[in-house]
Every structure is written in structure tokens, then in C-alpha cells.
């Protein structure tokens, strides 16, 4: 039975990261905005939902809605400078903004739920939704279903936007500002909307993660998480939602399967851990070299 539980856990995490990579793909892959601070939305979503549920005693779904709104608002803030900054400058600015958010939750330890909570103490005892009415042994399955539901919702909404006129404008903006401008498209507004939508969904992912782990602290949101999500969408195929999901699965599986593989290798744990990370790094490079558009190419809209 353990195997099944492990598989369920793996899929829950894949769903959470799937939402993250869908939202980043929407911003970066379709909208062409090189956002390297995606983890900030993840973080804000996680904390907002936690604090709403634990301090205001609202329902889990309200918490998630709060996460959605709060990360969306932050995304609005972070997208304002896009009007002025060039892509590379903006990319590093977002990287910085992500760190500022993490440092905020690390240093402002009054944001807490009691004694020994907040800041580096983290916040413990985050309630799991509907835990009281669902038996413990099937709870993981329920949560899998819940995350899948949110993943599906994210996929549906983003896919609809990408396939419609909105996505068309985004794909034009991705390559060049002048053409859409000359056709009367307010590109700044489109960029802000894209960031807000992507950020808001990333916030949902944050909420879903911490309501499962029942614990959150700022170290969940180091810059490395953003890089991993980037690797996911690049490997899967940037600009394509299915690609983003497949990339998520592949990077996740790479992380997990190397753990199992190593049980059969007679190498010292220390070296093995290094080799494991090296192979993850090399795989990213190889995919970028030989499959520049990722495993799944961007889908052509046919009429």
C-alpha cells in the first residue's frame, strides 16, 4: 500500500508544481515576460491562505481565494515597471522582488499565529480542509482529487485565454512591441493582466502546498524553486500548456527516480547526491540543446 501512498503524494506535488508551471508558462511562455521571481507569488499565496484560515477562521476555499487575490495584487505591483524596463533588467528585478518577499516574511516575525510562530519559526498546524469528515487513510486521495481540481481549473482558464484573442495578442507582444501597438493594442495593459493572472494562480499553488504540509516557513521559497519551475516549462516546451505539465512531470520524476536509482548504486551517498544534481543540470542543458522548443512544441492554432 505504501507504494500507492507514495504515488499519491508524488502526484499531489506534481499538481501543485503543475499549477506553478502553468502560471509561469502563461507569463513567460505565452506573454514573453521573463519572470524570475515567480516564487514570490507562491510565497504570498501560501502565507495569505495560512493567515486567513488560521487568524480569521475562514473556510479553506476563502483562504485560497484570498491567496488568489493577494498574489494577484502583488503581481500588479511587480508588473508596473515593465512599462519602462527592458526584459533582462526586469528579469533581474523580479529575482530581487522574490527575495524581498522572502526576507519580509523572514524578518517580520509579528506575522504569526501565536508564540513560537512567524518569521523563521514558520507557522505550524495549518488546518487541512475537510479533515474532520474524511478518514485519514483516504485523505491523501481526497487531496489529490482537490489539487487535480484546481489544476484542471487553472488549465481550463489559461487554455481558454491562450486560445482566444487574448492569447493571440500575447503571442504578438512576446516578439515585438511595435506591431500590436500599431494595431491599437494597449500592450502595457496586456502585460499587467498577464502578470496578475499568472501570479494569482501561482498563489493558489502556494495555498494548496501549505494546507497539505500543514506547515510553512520562508525557506520554502528560496530562488531555487523559481529556477526549477523554469526548467519544467523549458523542458516540456515553452508556450504550450501541455508542455508545461509534461515538463513538470519529467522534472519531478527526475528528482524522484534518481532517489530510487541510487539505492542500487554502490557509491557513497555524498558523491551520489552530487552526481544526482549534476545529472539534473546536464539534462536541462541537453534538452535546451537538442530540443530547443522543448519536448512538446508550441501548438499551432489551426482554422
Amino acid at each position: 500500500m505504501g507504494v500507492l501512498y507514495f504515488f499519491v503524494y508524488l502526484m499531489i506535488m506534481a499538481n501543485v508544481y503543475g499549477i506553478l508551471s502553468l502560471s509561469l508558462n502563461f507569463q513567460a511562455g505565452v506573454g514573453g515576460m521573463s519572470n524570475f521571481g515567480h516564487v514570490a507569488f507562491f510565497c504570498i499565496g501560501a502565507y495569505t491562505s495560512t493567515l486567513l484560515v488560521m487568524l480569521c477562521h475562514v473556510h479553506f476555499l476563502v483562504g485560497i481565494l484570498g491567496a488568489f487575490i493577494a498574489s494577484g495584487l502583488f503581481a500588479f505591483l511587480i508588473s508596473i515597471p515593465t512599462r519602462r524596463l527592458k526584459a533582462d533588467y526586469w528579469a533581474i528585478t523580479t529575482l530581487g522582488a522574490g527575495e524581498i518577499v522572502r526576507l519580509f516574511f523572514l524578518n517580520e516575525s509579528w506575522i504569526s499565529t501565536g508564540h513560537y510562530s512567524g518569521g523563521p519559526f514558520g507557522i505550524r498546524g495549518i488546518p487541512r480542509p475537510w479533515e474532520s469528515i474524511i478518514p485519514g487513510n483516504i485523505y491523501p486521495f481526497f487531496y489529490l482529487f482537490l489539487t487535480l481540481l484546481f489544476l484542471g481549473l487553472t488549465y481550463f482558464i489559461l487554455q481558454r485565454l491562450i486560445n482566444g484573442p487574448f492569447g493571440r495578442v500575447l503571442k504578438a507582444i512576446r516578439e515585438d512591441d511595435d506591431l500590436p501597438l500599431s494595431l491599437g493594442k494597449n500592450i502595457h495593459e496586456f502585460r499587467v493582466k498577464t502578470m496578475v493572472i499568472g501570479g494569482a494562480f501561482a498563489g493558489i499553488a502556494g495555498g494548496l502546498l501549505v494546507h497539505y504540509t500543514t506547515y510553512v516557513d520562508p525557506f520554502f521559497f528560496m530562488p531555487m524553486e523559481t529556477f526549477i519551475v523554469w526548467a519544467m516549462i523549458m523542458v516540456g516546451g515553452i508556450g504550450n500548456n501541455r508542455g508545461a505539465l509534461i515538463g513538470t512531470l519529467i522534472i519531478q520524476l527526475l528528482y524522484y527516480s534518481t532517489r530510487f536509482l541510487k539505492d542500487y548504486l554502490p557509491i557513497e551517498a555524498q558523491l551520489l547526491a552530487s552526481l544526482r544534481m549534476i545529472s539534473i543540470g546536464i539534462l536541462i542543458v541537453v534538452v535546451m540543446l537538442f530540443l530547443q522548443e522543448g519536448l512538446v512544441k508550441e501548438k499551432k492554432r489551426l482554422y
Binding site: G2, V3, Y5, F6, F7, Y9, L10, M13, L106, N107, S109, Y116, S117, G119, P120, F121, G122, R124, G125, G136, T213, T214, Y215, D217, P218, F219, F220, M222, M224, E225, R242, I246, L249, I250, L253, Y255, Y256, S257, R259, F260, D263, Y264, E268, A269, Q270, A273, S274, R276, M277, L295, V296, K299
Partner: protein
């Protein structure tokens, strides 16, 4: 055509996982040695500490298995890397518990890793021994044990030490910006205020930076008589080195909680005369460990975390033998019995647990650093 491609890929990878999972779980059925798990930050922010942990683990394991192992079988540890990332730590613990079905997990150096992993292992009734230092660990549950002091009372006692020893009135505080550090900060401040002292600087430093000169300047700007707090690992090394180079020294000296965390990794000249507290001293095992480490790896340990995992492995082995069973429940009960009689190498050597499964101290030992070694402080 696009459709088939997509589903083909999904199917391919799904089957890959399922096959690998079954292969893995099947292989585990053949049980020869007693297997336990360990989660160690081998890569990532805490990798320096992680290296000592891996080595301390190996030393203990060799000792135990040459001494006959546990339950007449050999002891084996499945080591997983946490990458110092909470999510990877969770992945590792899920694998150890769900697939490898270990009764005991050692580790979680960082409270971001040990808290969520502890929640899971505790809910699954698997024993976890951690050397993470957050005071928040106490509430995790009955299967969760801490073998490194999370007792902030030590912070209060450190302040007392400074007051009695140096008649200090003006305090600077420097702590690691972690859960443990904040606990120390809070208790130190409380104690200083109680004694009518003045806090002239209060500094939290961020881990893994190459430059702590701005922080040091802040601490010493108002010329504190003593500096209390806690410094950890390779950052302690940098801080002491840069303080030495800048000629910054409190008039009446440093007084640190858990002094060994700070002095062990540091360059001896830079920590000469630093004073502080450790838990109750019990034997001289720490030196024995250092010798074994030096002999095996040709250099002394750089942090104290090898000591802690060494104790964790030994406590587990003793508990398994005492319980005469590799069942988590029995091990959990046995841990309370074997800890008081065990002479450890970490902290002061006393590893007794209180009812929460955390470390229990009745006495704190005042120590001072002389020629790179900690010796008992006598005025």
C-alpha cells in the same frame, strides 16, 4: 497526431514510475539488515554541515556493525539528500516511509525540513530523531525526538553567566536569523531587562554570506561590554575571522549559548577566550569522536553536526536492542530508557529526553575556548 504524442508521453512516464516503484518495493522485501533512514542536507545551503553529518553517520555505523549490529543483524542506513529544500526533504521522508518502510528516520537539520517531515513521520507512527534546533519542534508529537538543545533557558543562563562573570551592563546581541536564533534573542533580551542591563545592539545575521563586516560594525558601534547570542557553523567561522581582522572584541568578552556550535568550525586564534555554555558535561567522548574522525578522514570535523548524528545512530541502535524489536512503537519507548545512561559525544554528552522527547538539562556547563579547545571555565 498531436494527441497521440501527448498521451503517449504521459503513458510512458506513468508506466516508468509505476514499474520503478514496484521494483523498488519488491527489492525491499528481502530483509537481511535492519534498515533505518536518514535525511541529510548533502547539497544546498547546508552542505558543509551535511558533509560532517554523512561522516559522523558512517563512523557510528562502522562502530555499531563491528560491535555486532542490532538484533544480531547488521544496521543499514538509507541516506537521502534534502538539498536543504523543504520540498525535497518531504520527498525523501515520503520515500523512506512509504517505500523503504523504515522504523526510524534520523535528521532534519533545518527546522524548515524537520518540522514538515516530522509532521509526516509522526502521523505515520515512525520515529524521527532530529538535531534541528527550533523551539517549535516540541509540539510535533510523541514519535518526534530532539537531540540538540532547543532550550532557550540556556540563553537566559548565558546572560547570567555574563553578568556574574563580567558584571556586564551594556550588551550587544548577535544571533543567527533562524528559529533557534530568535528564541535565543528573545530569552536573552528578557533576562537582560530583568537584570537592569542595557541592550546597545541587536543583530540578526543571514546565513551563507561572505561578508559580515556590516553586521559586526552594528554590534560594536555602541561599544558593548559583552556580546551574547549564538553563532552557528561556517558563518561563525567567517564572523570570528572578520571580527579578528577588524580588531573588534567586546571589552569583557563573548558569551555564547551552545558555544561548541560556534567555536568548532572557527579558526582557533580567532576564538581564543570566547566563553559560553553547553549542556551538562558527561565524559570526554567529544574528543574521542574527533580522534576517530581525524583518523578516518585525515582532518578534524569542521562542525559539530557529525557528533549529533553519531549520537542519533547510537541511540537508535541501543533503543532497537533494548526493545528487542525494530518496531517504531517499541523503539520510541526504549529511547526514553537508553538516553539517560548513554554518554554522547555531542553537546555536553548528556542526551536525556524530557517528556516531550526534547533534551532536558538540569545543569549548564560554563566553558571557555583555549587554544582551539573547549575547557571548563574557572574564574
Amino acid at each position: 497526431m498531436k494527441q497521440t504524442n501527448f498521451f503517449g508521453l504521459v503513458l510512458f512516464f506513468a508506466s516508468l514510475v509505476i514499474i520503478s516503484l514496484f521494483v523498488a518495493s519488491g527489492a525491499i522485501q528481502a530483509k537481511e539488515p535492519v534498515k533505518i533512514g536518514a535525511i541529510i542536507p548533502i547539497t544546498g545551503t547546508s552542505e558543509v554541515e551535511g558533509q560532517d553529518m554523512s561522516r559522523g553517520l558512517q563512523i557510528a555505523l562502522d562502530e555499531i556493525n563491528t560491535a555486532g549490529g542490532v538484533l544480531g543483524r547488521s544496521l543499514e542506513v538509507i541516506v537521502e539528500d534534502t538539498e536543504t529544500r523543504p520540498k525535497s526533504g518531504l520527498d525523501a521522508v515520503h520515500k523512506l516511509i512509504d517505500i523503504n518502510k523504515v522504523p526510524v528516520i534520523l535528521g532534519g537539520y533545518f527546522s524548515s525540513v524537520s518540522l514538515p517531515t516530522g509532521n509526516y513521520s509522526n502521523s505515520q507512527g515512525v520515529v524521527q530523531l532530529t538535531w534541528s534546533t527550533s523551539p517549535a519542534l516540541r509540539k510535533v508529537g510523541p514519535f518526534f525526538f530532539g537531540i540538540c538543545g532547543t532550550d532557550e533557558l540556556m540563553a537566559a543562563n548565558t546572560v547570567k553567566f555574563a553578568i556574574e562573570d563580567a558584571r556586564a551592563k551594556r550588551f550587544g546581541i548577535i544571533v543567527d536569523n533562524s528559529a533557534y536564533g530568535l528564541g535565543v534573542l528573545e530569552f536573552s533580551k528578557r533576562e537582560i531587562k530583568k537584570a537592569g542591563g542595557e541592550i546597545v545592539a541587536e543583530v540578526k545575521y543571514e546565513r551563507e554570506k561572505a561578508d559580515y563586516r556590516p553586521e559586526l560594525q552594528r554590534v560594536f558601534a555602541q561599544k558593548p561590554e559583552v556580546v551574547v547570542g549564538t553563532l552557528i557553523g561556517k558563518d561563525a567561522r567567517t564572523i570570528f575571522k572578520q571580527a579578528y581582522e577588524l580588531g573588534l572584541k567586546p571589552q569583557s568578552g563573548w558569551y555564547l549559548s551552545w558555544i561548541s556550535l560556534a567555536t568548532a568550525p572557527s579558526i582557533p586564534e580567532t576564538v581564543e577566550g570566547v566563553k559560553g555554555l553547553i549542556g551538562r558535561l558527561k565524559g570526554k567522548a567529544a574528543n574521542r569522536f574527533n580522534e576517530m574522525y581525524q583518523e578516518k578522514y585525515g582532518a578534524p570535523p569542521q562542525t559539530v553536526w557529525g557528533h549529533y548524528i553519531y549520537d542519533a545512530v547510537w541511540l537508535t541502535a541501543l533503543a532497537i536492542n533494548f526493545a528487542n524489536s525494530p518496531e517504531p512503537k517499541a523503539i520510541k519507548d526504549a529511547l526514553f530508557k537508553v538516553a539517560p545512561v548513554y554518554r554522547g559525544v555531542s553537546g555536553g554528552g548528556d542526551k536525556t529526553f524530557n517528556a516531550d522527547g526534547m533534551q532536558k538539562y538540569e545543569v549548564y556547563q560554563r566553558m571557555v575556548c583555549k587554544n582551539g579547545k573547549l575547557v571548563i571555565y574557572q574564574k
